[in-house]
């Protein structure tokens, strides 16, 4: 039978889909690989509904398959099947079954809503961060510590991070699957999300609310560090304004070029020089050498990637607002970019935190 054979093939293909997919569920952006209590509770609840769905599916599909086979027409069409119109007891039974199932889901759901989504007042032990979504990057203000980063949120392991969320333009969403789930960033609305990282590592985040343009490239990272590393990192930021640039002619030329090319008209760099520079509505580049990524977490922060980013930001991240500063036939382009790269990567690397840069990679990056 042609149809039977196809059916068997289709079933085999369908069965292999979950098998293939089941190979690898962990990863730095997976909701099924929690690294903190909030994401753990979210995953547990998913798994509870997932396992509850199996008896439902087996029951319904089993009954369906059995009924279709048992009551298939067998050339006995002359005899009408019993024209039953219903059965009250059965109706009551299959009303009660979904009610019970729903209660089984509802009780842990309500409990988890209140244990993970309740608005909290940050205490002295919490890390308070104000996050703002921009087209197409994230600003993280460490309000109690007095400094700002862009697209990389460094947090200490075991400390509750309480974040207030805001948006400067359209809707965005703050989403870190391994740690917190997501919450929308809405203009004129004070939203909150909080989470704790249980283990050190790099966790990927991404904007989850359509914001046009470079929405697909609006990424960020949460890097959870052990307490000592985190403290060194904080100190590096708090001291950034007091440090001077390394005495390297290339770096010094790069510093001059960032002023000359207009970089600092937008970007803040603490310790840039005698004058305060930048605009709070653009990504803060303080201690850029300590960053792990460029372009809102779309590429690793290597000299090559940084140079490529400066040379043609639209090629790496189509639609973003970073201007292309050199025309393609500018003879000084490569030399100037090299100098700026040297300057930017030197920022913060002379500090003690520079040594711990690779600690964030415990989770593995692609």
């Amino acid at each position: 039978m042609q149809a039977r054979r196809w059916l068997r093939r289709a079933l085999a293909a369908a069965a292999s889909v979950p098998l293939i997919a089941a190979c690898e569920f962990s990863g730095p952006q997976s909701a099924l690989d929690p690294a903190g209590p909030v994401a753990q509770a979210q995953k547990d609840l998913f798994l509870w509904t997932f396992w509850l769905s199996w008896p439902v599916m087996i029951g319904v599909f089993g009954a369906l398959a059995y009924a279709l086979w048992r009551f298939r027409a067998r050339g006995n069409a002359k005899e009408l099947p019993h024209q039953t119109h219903g059965n009250l007891r059965l109706e009551v039974a299959w009303t009660v079954i979904p009610v019970i199932l729903v209660i089984l889901v509802a009780v842990p759901t309500v409990r988890t809503i209140f244990s993970t989504e309740q608005r909290v007042t940050p205490g002295p032990d919490d890390l308070v961060v104000h996050a703002t979504g921009y087209q197409w990057w994230f600003k993280f203000e460490y309000t109690d510590l007095g400094f700002t980063t862009a697209n990389e949120l460094i947090v200490p392991v075991g400390t509750r991070v309480v974040m207030s969320l805001d948006s400067a333009d359209v809707l965005h969403a703050f989403w870190v699957p391994n740690l917190a789930g997501k919450r929308d960033m809405i203009p004129n609305q004070d939203n909150q999300i909080w989470f704790t990282a249980d283990r050190a590592g790099t966790y990927f985040g991404q904007c989850a609310e359509l914001c046009l343009g470079a929405h697909a490239y609006m990424r960020f990272r949460v890097i959870a560090m052990e307490r000592d590393d985190y403290q060194r990192w904080v100190t590096a930021f708090q001291d950034a304004g007091r440090r001077t640039v390394a005495a390297d002619p290339l770096v010094e030329r790069g510093r001059a070029l960032t002023a000359q090319k207009g970089c600092v008209a937008c970007h803040t760099i603490e310790g840039f020089g005698p004058v305060a520079v930048g605009n709070a509505d653009f990504p803060d580049l303080t201690n850029f050498g300590l960053r792990t990524t460029v372009g809102a977490a779309i590429a690793d922060n290597t000299p090559e990637n940084l140079a490529a980013w400066l040379r043609d930001p639209q090629a790496m991240k189509p639609g973003n607002y970073m201007p292309t500063l050199w025309s393609a036939d500018d003879p000084n382009r490569d030399a100037e970019i090299d100098a700026i790269v040297a300057y930017l990567l030197s920022l913060g690397r002379d500090s003690a935190a520079g040594a711990s840069l690779s600690l964030g990679d415990a989770h593995g990056r692609p």
Partner: protein
């Protein structure tokens, strides 16, 4: 059959016809002026299939773009336009009108009526829908298609964030298209309430008609909030009001509330007719009455009511707080109960029957399986802490394609195979139909099942690319390969429709040994639907005529012998004004879009003018005498 026409004498005095109403029976003019519910039903079905083809092309491009990370087939701008138009088209121009098209054709037939209550209004509804769809699709040539997603969240739609005219096409197109849907809903309600055949009590109304009645009420209550929201954005963009301008202190969340107070009932506006179709197909091919008819009806009504109480489950991540999230989680769970009851009742219908595996039944079974999976993921998504992860990811995309594509669309395909013989008088090829089915349905699962995994692995929706190395490549590749499988199925389905129309075997009146009144008349039915007024004495009105031993109530309907149609069958007159009025509305839409106030004023004047002519074009119509209409065949079996 021989039908003698009797022209009605024109009444004298102020009610006299100003213009003669058109009477063309063939050619273009007959279609532009038709008020026949069957012709309009066919127009709806044909138009929605045309839009479905366009939406399928858009979906195909989306999947090609996502075959691998970093693909550059579509730019972000074009990609945004594609998924926006795909969603808008499928929801507003394809699946919802397909249900309305079936309703247009079969609601009057199922209740033994000869047309809808307001035939010209029905024509107007169709032409406005067609105008709205045409308007939206001309955005490809007259500017840019909308690119803000089918939900068009503020403030992405404000002029400063979205200076192109795509958003205007979306807002005005939906506003205009909504008028057509609204008038059709009112028409269906009046028809079902007041035009049922003698003996057809509400508890004898076929389930498809019942579900269309519930759907029509949903439309009437759901579209006004959408209209308000659309109007606000149009005002913002056209006249500089500040409803959704955050810089002026606006709270953009308002749009989401208004949109989803419409949007969630809209989901049931799409799925309830599908439930109705399934409730016709499964009993017919199991040769048993629908199990638990009153429970199925009441579940449908309950789902309709509850549909208005769950909208915030689309907004679990907007920070409404734990109390609101709890409330809407609970109402969403509750809505799963009547849905589950319906599935059990369909199982109960199959149980103990004689199941014939026609193509229509294949699709009904595929619906049961796919919709159950979609229902289960729906319950999962009603869990706010899980939605904190799954919201705006491919898990949601997978879920709503399982319930809208796998649920509503498969049910409508079942309806297409089931009703095609009635509409065309010809049979579709069962063998070819099964081939199409075995590509289409596995293809659908191949596309959408892996998307659950992609969502859980961290893939947000509405992005034209995805990050490498976190496990998203494989599910996306499988998903894209599935589109080719499903495409083969869709092409075979289209081929089968053509084959059926051109070479199909004659169907006869009742090829499926079916149960409801539409099978009591010829295929296709005559213009006046029934030669004799059907009189109903049981829920399965046609079935008990064939099998009197299974009758539920009295054997002979008590009012069967009354002299119906003594003066002939009244046929409503045709009219061109519904078409003209819709045309004026189309001109109005473009004038509003391009800020051409002179043309706008002219179009408004035209609308008044055509409405006036509509009102005073005279009674029209005629009375048909059907000579020697056969006496009711007692106990005749087809």
């Amino acid at each position: 059959m021989a039908v003698r026409k009797v022209t009605m004498p024109a009444p004298a005095g102020p009610g006299a016809a100003v213009f003669a109403r058109p009477t063309a029976e063939r050619g273009l003019l007959s279609w532009l002026t038709t008020v026949d519910h069957k012709r309009l039903g066919l127009l709806y079905i044909f138009t929605s299939f045309a839009f479905m083809a366009a939406a399928s092309v858009e979906a195909f491009l989306i999947r090609l773009q996502l075959a691998a990370p970093g693909n550059t087939l579509l730019s972000p701008e074009v990609y945004n336009q594609m998924f926006t138009m795909h969603g808008v088209t499928m929801v507003f121009l394809a699946i919802m009108p397909l249900g309305i098209g079936f309703a247009n054709y079969f609601v009057p037939l199922q209740i033994g009526a000869r047309d809808l209550a307001f035939p010209r209004l029905n024509a107007f509804g169709y032409w406005v829908y067609a105008a709205g769809g045409l308007f939206l699709y001309t955005s490809f040539f007259l500017g840019s298609p909308p690119d803000v997603g089918w939900v068009a969240y503020a403030p992405l739609t404000s002029l400063s964030n979205n200076p192109g005219n795509g958003t205007d096409f979306y807002m005005i197109g939906l506003l205009v298209g909504g008028i057509g849907t609204l008038v059709t809903a009112m028409n269906l309600i009046v028809t079902v309430i007041s035009m049922r055949a003698p003996g057809m009590t509400m508890m004898r109304v076929p389930v498809f008609t019942w579900m269309m009645l519930v759907t029509s009420f949903l439309i009437i209550f759901a579209f006004p909030p959408l209209t308000i929201a659309l109007f606000q954005v149009i005002m913002d963009r056209t006249f500089g009001t500040l409803f959704y301008v955050p810089a002026a202190g606006a709270l953009p969340i308002l749009w989401q509330h208004l949109f989803w107070i419409f949007g969630h009932p809209e989901v049931y506006i799409i799925i309830l007719p599908a439930f109705g179709v399934i409730s016709e197909v499964i009993p017919t091919f199991s040769r048993k009455p629908l199990f638990g008819y009153p429970v199925v009806i009441l579940s449908g009504i309950f789902i309709g009511f509850m549909g208005f109480a769950v909208w915030s489950h689309h907004m679990f991540t907007t920070g409404l707080g734990p109390v609101v999230n709890t409330a809407f989680a609970l109402t969403s769970f509750v809505i799963g109960i009547p849905t589950g009851i319906k599935v059990f009742n369909w199982l109960g219908t199959i149980w103990g029957g004689q199941v014939r595996f026609t193509v229509a039944m294949h699709y009904a079974i595929a619906f049961l399986i796919t919709f159950t999976i979609g229902g289960i993921t729906g319950i999962m998504l009603a869990v706010p802490p899980f939605t904190a992860q799954a919201h705006d990811t491919y898990f949601v995309v997978a879920h709503f394609h399982y319930v809208m594509g796998g649920g509503a669309l498969l049910a409508f395909f079942a309806g297409l195979y089931y009703w095609f013989p009635k509409m065309s008088g010809k049979l579709m090829d069962e063998r070819l139909g099964k081939w199409a089915f075995w590509f289409l349905v596995p293809g659908l699962h191949l596309i959408f099942f892996p998307q659950h995994v992609a969502g859980l692995m961290g893939m947000p929706r509405r992005t034209q690319t995805f990050v490498e190395g976190v496990g998203l490549e494989l599910p996306n590749l499988i998903s894209t390969s599935g589109t080719f499988v499903m495409l083969v199925g869709l092409v075979l389905l289209a081929a089968n429709i053509l084959h059926g129309l051109l070479r199909g075997k004659p169907a006869g009146n009742d090829p499926w040994d079916a149960r409801t009144l539409e099978w009591a008349t010829t295929s296709p039915p005559p213009h006046h639907d029934f030669d004799r007024q059907p009189v109903v004495n049981d829920r399965d009105a046609h079935w008990v005529q064939k099998y009197p031993e299974s009758v539920h109530g009295e054997r002979v309907p008590e009012n069967a012998s009354e002299p119906y149609d003594r003066h002939g069958i009244h046929m409503p007159g045709q009219s061109i004004y519904p078409f003209f009025l819709a045309l004026a509305l189309l001109v109005f839409s473009y004038a509003l879009l391009f800020h051409n106030w002179w043309v706008l004023g002219l179009s408004v004047a035209l609308m008044f003018f055509f409405t006036y002519l509509w009102a005073f074009e005279g009674v029209g119509g005629r009375h048909l005498k059907v000579p020697g209409a056969p006496a009711r065949a007692k106990g005749a079996r087809s």
